[in-house]
Structure formats: structure tokens, C-alpha cells
């Protein structure tokens, strides 16, 4: 019995072949420790904080609760690749302009969750829907005020 195998991913537009990935490994750990993409953050590792959110085939997902092998063949976008997306650039600009961050640890998760929402077909860009898209992401510094301002600004800009 083998305990690992090669995984093929398209990460931020680039094909990555990762050898010997244990079957039990989570995408979060593969990104951080095998591909050195440290921008994706490990938070609670239990699906409660959203810090590890990445896009898998365009959908926001918690990389702490996703086996890397489950993502085999998928296209993965992490915070390092966010500026390659037009919605991503708009979100980054809006967060920068509104100062929608402090320590920055939760920031990649917020950005990816918002990009995932705004880039989805027919996305609801109403203030309530934009806020709801960020319900799974915890921030300890900002009190969300500047994040809400940034998200609403981003929603207007991509419209």
C-alpha cells in the first residue's frame, strides 16, 4: 500500500506537479510547505476562521478542510495569484484604499472569499450579500468596519 502519490494542480495559472503527497495531507499544508506559498494562512485548522480560504476552480474553499488529492487536477488560486484576476485587482485596490486590514493575518482569507463571491456568475453585489459572503471569515483587529467599507467599494468597482 502506498501512502502518497503525485498531485497535479494548476496553481495561480501555473501547472505544478507535486510528488509524493501523502493522501491525508490537506491542501493548506501542500501550498504552504511544499509549494512555499505562505500567503495562505493557517488559522484554527477546523473550518471556523476562514484564514485559509483559497479558490478551487473558482469557488472559495477552506484549504484546511480539503485533502490535496481531492483537488487533483483543479485550478487553485491563492492570494499570491490574486492580482492576475481582474476582480482580484479590484478587491486588492479597494482594501488598500480603505485600509481594510491591520495585522493582515486574516486578510488573504477575506480577499479570496470576496474575490470568489464577486467573480461568481451572477453574483449578488448588494451590501447584504457582500457582507454575507464574508461571514465565515474572522478578523480580530479591525472590528470589520474597514473590511466592510473595502468590500462594498470593491463590489461597486467590479460592477
Amino acid at each position: 500500500m502506498t501512502s502518497g502519490a503525485r498531485v497535479s494542480l494548476v496553481v495561480n495559472g501555473r501547472r505544478r506537479e507535486v510528488a509524493d503527497v501523502p493522501f491525508g495531507e490537506r491542501l493548506l499544508d501542500t501550498l504552504r510547505w511544499r509549494l512555499s506559498l505562505k500567503g495562505t494562512k493557517e488559522g484554527c485548522r477546523a473550518g471556523n476562521c476562514g484564514a485559509c480560504t483559497v479558490l478551487v476552480d473558482g469557488r472559495p474553499m477552506l484549504s484546511c478542510l480539503l485533502l490535496t488529492h481531492e483537488a487533483n487536477g483543479a485550478s487553485v488560486t491563492t492570494i499570491e495569484g490574486v492580482e492576475a484576476l481582474s476582480v482580484g485587482r479590484a478587491v486588492v485596490r479597494a482594501f488598500e484604499a480603505e485600509g481594510g486590514l491591520q495585522c493582515g493575518y486574516c486578510t488573504p482569507g477575506f480577499v479570496m472569499a470576496l474575490v470568489g463571491h464577486l467573480a461568481s456568475p451572477g453574483a449578488d453585489r448588494s451590501p447584504a450579500a457582500v457582507r454575507a459572503a464574508l461571514e465565515g471569515n474572522l478578523c480580530r483587529c479591525t472590528g470589520y468596519a474597514s473590511i466592510v467599507r473595502a468590500a462594498q467599494r470593491a463590489a461597486k468597482e467590479v460592477a
Binding site: 493522501f23 473550518g47 469557488r59 478542510l65
Partner: protein, 286 residues
């Protein structure tokens, strides 16, 4: 979970074969994995092999004349986004919105919720209330089991060794609602939750109370009728609250839970009875 093996069959037959060849505890199916991975990491589950259901063509959302059939591995986010589901079974949308956060719902599935039978599952009480059933597939073929018989206790189902959940079948249309109570509205565990529905054909009310040992409790009534009075609702809700088995834990005491059951049963029935039942009302503070 070191050394665990993982396979992703692409056909039903192939998937079932993995389960016929190994002892049950050694092979565990994984759908979204959002609940299972926590148990794997904590060592509460230790299979030799994970059989991923994600490559199977089990993601349909099909409308039959009186039924909605949802493939067991369809992510909750897809169901949540479907306006027809919202129209036909509004309570299901409310229950799904109570599960985790948006990113988690892109991964979590109805089938996973049922197979894992988590005591705090938000979708099981609703599926019980609307009278949903599950279609199971195994080496001996298909069989259909009402959710009421499928979920036996916390983490215990009627699945036989080698059997998988193929799809979930909901009778439609089904006026329904889901009301929960937690300390924090989102991203929290429901301490008490109530799924409720009214079957216009039989004029029967069904409520299912979650957060109750050993599994959500189902209560039915045929006296309330389509337009129940407030007094009748209160009487029914109080009677239900008095007889459901409840336990206190770190999240809420038994006494408080009982109080909450009465309140939520009443609120759920009122929500269903109201014509425009789906609006901004997302939770208990409404």
C-alpha cells in the same frame, strides 16, 4: 491519519467494489470531508482507505412532478443558490445557510451531513420535517429509506456495510422553515434548532427538533390546520417542549434549552404559516 490511502473512483460500480473488499471500519467514504477531516486529524476515525465520492456523477439536482432529487455529493452552496429550491422548500435554504460559512458550504454536501449524522447537523432536522428520504446504493442494489429511519442516533445511521447514499429525495412543494438558536448568529453550533413543514395534502404539521439526544425528535400534528391560531401554536409548542428529551452541556443548560424549544417551535410554525415566509428573517433574533 498517517499512511491512509485515498482513491477516487469515477463510476458507481468501482466505488462499491472498494467497500465490498474491505472490513467496514477500514474503508470510509469521503464527500466534502468538512466534518470527517476533523475526526481523522483527531484520530477519532482511523480508516486504512478513504474512498472519495467527488469524481462520481452524483451531483444532480432533478425535478420530478412531486419530488426534488439531489445528488448526495452536490455542494450545499449550489442548492442554496438555486431559486427553484428556495421556492419549493424554503426551509432547506434556511437550514443550509445555518451550516458553517460560505466557503465551507462550497464543499459540504447533503449526503455527507446525513452519513456523518452529526448531533448538531442543521440540515437533518429540516430533512426530517419535510419528510425527505434517502436513496441508498449497495452491492445488493438500491433501496429507499425515510430520513426518519435513516438517522438513528448521534453518529449512527441505517447504512449497511458497503452502502452509500446516492441521492436525497424531498417531496415538493413543501412549505417549510428552519429556526435555530445560538450564542452567535453565524458560524456557530445551533444549541437548539427546529425544522418545520406543513403538508397541504394531509394537513399535517411536522416539526423536528435538533440538538436533542439521541437524534432530532420528530413531532406531528393534524389538529392545527393550515391557519393555526396563536393560542393553538403556543399550546402545541409547549407540549412539545415538555416531552422532548433534553440535556444540558457547555453550550446551554437543560432548562434554557426547553424554553428555547417552545419558542422556536412556535416561531417555526408561524413562519411556515405566513405566506411570505422567506425574507430577511435569518435567525432567532428576528
Amino acid at each position: 491519519m498517517a499512511g491512509v490511502e485515498w482513491v477516487a473512483p469515477s463510476t458507481e460500480d468501482e466505488a462499491l467494489r472498494y467497500f465490498s473488499s474491505d472490513p467496514p471500519s477500514a474503508v470510509v467514504p469521503i464527500a466534502g470531508g468538512t466534518d470527517l477531516l476533523l475526526d481523522l486529524e483527531a484520530g477519532r476515525v482511523g480508516p486504512r482507505r478513504l474512498v472519495s465520492l467527488s469524481r462520481l456523477p452524483w451531483r444532480e439536482l432533478e425535478w420530478a412532478p412531486n419530488a426534488l432529487r439531489i445528488g448526495s455529493t452536490r455542494p450545499l452552496a449550489d442548492i442554496q443558490a438555486d431559486p427553484r429550491v428556495r421556492q419549493a422548500v424554503p426551509g432547506l435554504i434556511e437550514a443550509i445557510l445555518a451550516v458553517g460559512g460560505p466557503a465551507l458550504r462550497h464543499r459540504a454536501t447533503l449526503g455527507g451531513n446525513l452519513a456523518r449524522a452529526a448531533p448538531a447537523s442543521d440540515v437533518i432536522p429540516l430533512l426530517l420535517a419535510v419528510g425527505a428520504s434517502v436513496e441508498l446504493v449497495g452491492a445488493d442494489g438500491h433501496r429507499t429509506v425515510p430520513v426518519d429511519q435513516f438517522v438513528r442516533a448521534s453518529r449512527e445511521t441505517a447504512l449497511r456495510p458497503g452502502e452509500l447514499i446516492r441521492r436525497i429525495v424531498l417531496p415538493v412543494p413543501r412549505p417549510s422553515a428552519y429556526r435555530w438558536h445560538r450564542v452567535r448568529p453565524v458560524n456557530d453550533i445551533s444549541h437548539v434548532a427546529v425544522g418545520g413543514s406543513f403538508d397541504p395534502g394531509t394537513s399535517e404539521w411536522t416539526v423536528a427538533i435538533g440538538g436533542v439526544p439521541p437524534r432530532p425528535q420528530v413531532e406531528r400534528d393534524r389538529t392545527l390546520g393550515a391557519r393555526p391560531s396563536d393560542a393553538a401554536i403556543e399550546t402545541f409548542a409547549r407540549a412539545v417542549a415538555e416531552r422532548v428529551p433534553l440535556r444540558g452541556d457547555l453550550r446551554a443548560s437543560e432548562g434554557y434549552r426547553r424554553r428555547v424549544v417552545a419558542i422556536l417551535v412556535a416561531r417555526t410554525i408561524r413562519a411556515v404559516a405566513m405566506a411570505d415566509q422567506i425574507g430577511s428573517d435569518r435567525g432567532s433574533a428576528a
